[in-house]
Symmetry: C2
Subunit: 178 residues, 2 copies
């Protein structure tokens, strides 16, 4: 087990000896997932998880739309107007981009692959909450499907819920769960 | 096209009428991708993109390890010690979690699916940079493979590079590219 000190982690194989100054101000900005039905996904991410829809961009005639969502305590900080929002969003960490290819919402059954069965790759996104037990009780009350409840499996401090496309959303809390 | 004002976005179908106070302090914490070879991926994310390896957790005998990376201007803010780092990480936006199932690095060829061919789902992650042209010139000089150069396709302000597993990493800049 790595000691998880700065010094020990710097010795892990593959880690760069020093940060290249050319990477200054780089920001891990967003993660993009394709979604079948924006109505269902926007309901899930805004009503259930508290995200704010910060920008919507429609590409016609290519036939797709992009939805950019953020999970911020005060969305009054988001400027108004398309160009101001584009720039503001590009400066943020932790943006969720949802891509809707028009017409998928009319298809029967699931359209997209969650990455957790063959062929695997992407695993999940994660939302951290102040109280994971309270959050999971609320998800149960709202009828949100679970991939793994707190009471299931060997890791009792984390849960996984599923978004409308079946993507896994891990739920954790910072404080240790006793 | 949506006006991309607060008022217009609130009217998009599916968007919750008001934010549930129960979602206060929820944070979009991380995105998890499975990787074949941690040496290759840590080299890419730390040397090429400037991420810091903030925590490594080994699960034995289950046979997997988790690598948590952040892209922050000053990694001196990260506390030392496993529990302090676990808590600190859980409070952040924009963490990248890489999962290594031990032994995959010995397999021939690609192990994981990037999500952009059938079956599709996950699309990409994105790193925002101050100067996308300078960043892309550096990636070229470093021999990083591109999925789409700035000069290719119809969107000339964005590029996509590929990580060692073939996952797409979009590169953008906040300022409009003239």
């Amino acid at each position: 087990m790595t000691a998880n000190t700065r010094a020990a982690l710097a010795e892990v194989s593959g880690v760069a000896a020093a940060r290249d100054p050319a990477t200054r101000e780089f920001v891990f900005n967003h993660t993009m997932l394709r979604i079948k039905d924006p109505g269902a996904s926007l309901d899930f991410y805004t009503r259930v998880l508290g995200f704010t829809l910060a920008r919507k961009v429609d590409f016609e005639p290519a036939g797709f739309s992009l939805y950019f969502l953020v999970l911020v305590d005060d969305d009054a900080a988001i400027p108004d107007g398309d160009e101001a929002r584009r720039q503001w969003l590009a400066e943020q960490r932790g943006v969720l981009e949802l891509t809707h290819n028009h017409g998928t919402e009319e298809q029967d059954g699931p359209v997209y692959h969650d990455g957790n069965s063959a062929p695997r790759g992407f695993g999940h996104i994660c939302v951290s909450v102040p109280d994971v037990r309270a959050a999971c009780a609320r998800f149960e009350a709202l009828g949100v499907p679970f991939q793994k409840r707190l009471s299931e499996g060997s890791m009792r401090s984390i849960a996984f819920i599923k978004d409308p496309d079946g993507y896994w959303v891990e739920i954790i809390q910072p404080a240790r769960l006793d």
